[in-house]
Amino acid sequence: MLSTLLEFAVILGLMTGLAVLMGKWLTRVFTAPGHALMERGTYRLLGVDPQESMGWARYGSALLLSNLAMMLLGYILLRVQGSMPLNPLELVAQTPDLAFNTAASFITNTNWQAYSGETSLSNFSQMAVITFLMFVGATSGVVAAAGFIRGLSRSNATGIGNFWVDFTRILYRVMLPLCFAMALVYVWQGMPQTLYSQALATTLEGAQQQLIVGAVASFESIKHIGTNGGGFFSMNAAHPFENPTPLTNALHILSMLLIPSALTYTFGSMLLRRRQGWVFFGTFLVMFIGFLSVVYVAEQSGNPLLTQAGADQMLSSTQSGGNMEGKELRFGIADTSLFVTTTTGATTGSVNAMHDSLTPMGGFVPLAQMMLNCVFGGDGVGFINLIQYALLTVFLVGMMIGRSPEFLGKKIEAREIKLVMLSVLAHPISILGFTALAALWPDTLKSLNNIGPHGFSEVLYAYTSGTANNGSAFAGLNANTPFFNTTIGLAMLIGRFFTMLPMLAVAGSLALKKNIPAGAGTIPTATPLFMVLVVFVVLVVGGLTFLPALALGPLVEQLQLLSGQTYP
């Protein structure tokens, strides 16, 4: 118990230190005037002028269109897998609906997977489609944050930066070098990195075992640093080849939190409002610790029905105890709880345990975090989501005290709040709308692995994960049907672009305004009080929106578990 608390403290301490280092690095990447040689070559190849300053609409269009082209390229490569190299197992191409779902999933940084990696993708596809889309999807998120923060930092300006410059720099100066170095650490720890597809073994008892291998380490590093989350293998970061040791598990966790936490620091240093940056960091951290406690206590307490069946779930010096169904022994309860909280907070979607088999309250946490979508959040977009709630907070507080709201020295007016509300509302409309549709869809029952409230949770989880661009699953759900592939694919695109683009518009609109000096009626936003207010607004807005759905899923399931009700 004590060692668990110490472990949590050490990991969160390391994360804070890394946030500062990475935050400084990102600030330089976002603001340095000079272009490196390789970058200048890239601009020439692309045919772009790095000196051009783009307004938010052009910046957003470049992001949207380039992402569309990349998604299309990924789709095509998936559809012609059969005639591509590095496919010794002769895996066939994905169907059109599945390939759409996969391409949409990886370009939006969701990485929901309706296929299983071992039996569906060749080594070529794992690299040229999945690894590629993970890089550009994650980079696009950070690019959006760069434009967004720059917009907030300017006044009387129309430009929020140059999309191509931001994209190229973030890729060359952050993503590629970090991922390369991390991949080598991962191989040292035991992850395969090879162009072979399999190794055949004869086990001690004489059975044949087919070991699937491939370019796993290079895949894993971008998967976590990019808060992507899709697995090389079906069982994702629970698979020993994707997460061989407790050390790789800790590195996965730190990688996922790296950029989302660092952006609060970058924001603070670019706006010369460091205290404000730390207030946002604190907002993330407070919610994170709250959710971590819930999932850890729930999983360590275990499943009372399994105790009745004769399983010993008590923590002792010789076992971790707790609810071990769908968990790996090397991680036990503590490392699994930390991973669950991180992957759904930082909306990565990588899993080191099967969320479908979590206790009801343990499963409540990932659902709730994805619904709030701003407990660190994904690379770039998490920070944007938090600012969206901060704007809502100054607006609500301003209304309560009868003052016109201000934020970061700018007046917040009708246009900004309308855009914020568009973004805030797109999220629940997609989640709840599609869940309702699926609940009515006659074939849904056939896709469920569990029935009763847990079955409902499987569906709710799927659309929440898709819309929040998380990608983790209550994986019992068979989502590889044309209905689920299409609707979840749409949910991912809506969740990505209906928050990113309106918020870029907000940044563009704030950049146009002039700075006004803080007056007596200005609500100070760089204070612990404001932090509490933002957390309050996030929880109230999230609670009001999603509580009814959660009540039908994990909450009623918890009550039934306590009363011993089971489902066939």
Binding site: E7, A201, P240, L306, G310, Q319, E325, G326, L329, S357
Partner: protein, 211 residues
């Protein structure tokens, strides 16, 4: 680029077609082929054993990976955790879990059955509590480890069947126990395949002919 004085506003979409198309192709080649291939090259020079899957050989034959569990059904071997992979347990060609929720009767029935089988195999009392990892399926279906509690309960059986003193066997188990990394990360655990390999090696010296 950092000053707002440089007003050089372009029409919304002018000139975007070429960079949009070229960026998709170029960054695919760079991040989808260049990066993984370069990593593969360097990794295989620096860590060839791990890069190929940490394969273990015995008498020139690959018998598995140090990281991937395998099925043990013979009672003279330590047994791993239940596995729910497709077709057969510990199918490393298709990792998988039960994905059963906590109120699933199927899950409760499976655990009840495994508890009884475990008690019987190891000669435990009918009301004894069995370590949870021994009766629940892992997430990957390929979990190579068991808990110390689980290993200790299997010692008596394996010692009897292999005609070894229990104390000696306990020492072997201890030698194959991995502690928390840096005293902090993960859980203490026993790698079942490596433990069983050590047991076979122990046997082979005095009883060269068997197996």
């Amino acid at each position: 680029m950092t000053t707002q004085t440089q007003i050089k506003t372009q029409p919304l979409l002018k000139g975007l077609l070429r960079p949009v198309l070229v960026s998709a192709g170029f960054f695919m080649l760079l991040t989808g082929l260049g990066y993984p291939l370069a990593t593969t090259l360097v990794a295989n020079v620096m860590f060839p054993h791990q890069a190929q899957g940490s394969l273990i050989e015995r008498d020139g034959q690959v018998i598995g990976s140090a990281l991937i569990g395998q099925q043990f059904s013979r009672p003279e071997y330590f047994q791993g955790r239940p596995s729910m992979t497709a077709d057969q347990p510990y199918n490393a060609g298709s990792s998988g879990a039960s994905n059963l929720g906590p109120t699933s009767q199927k899950l409760i029935d499976q655990v009840t059955q495994r508890v009884q089988a475990y008690r019987q195999l190891n000669g435990l009392a009918a009301d004894s509590q069995v370590p949870v990892d021994a009766v629940t399926a892992s997430a990957s279906g390929l979990d190579p480890h068991i808990s110390l509690a689980n290993a200790q309960l299997q010692v008596a059986r394996v010692a009897r069947l292999r005609q070894l003193p229990e104390a000696e066997l306990l020492k072997v188990v201890q030698a194959h126990t991995e502690q928390r990394t840096l005293g902090l990360l993960g859980e203490p655990r026993v790698n079942v395949l490596q433990l069983n390999l050590a047991l076979d090696a122990l046997h082979q010296q005095p009883l060269a002919a068997s197996e």
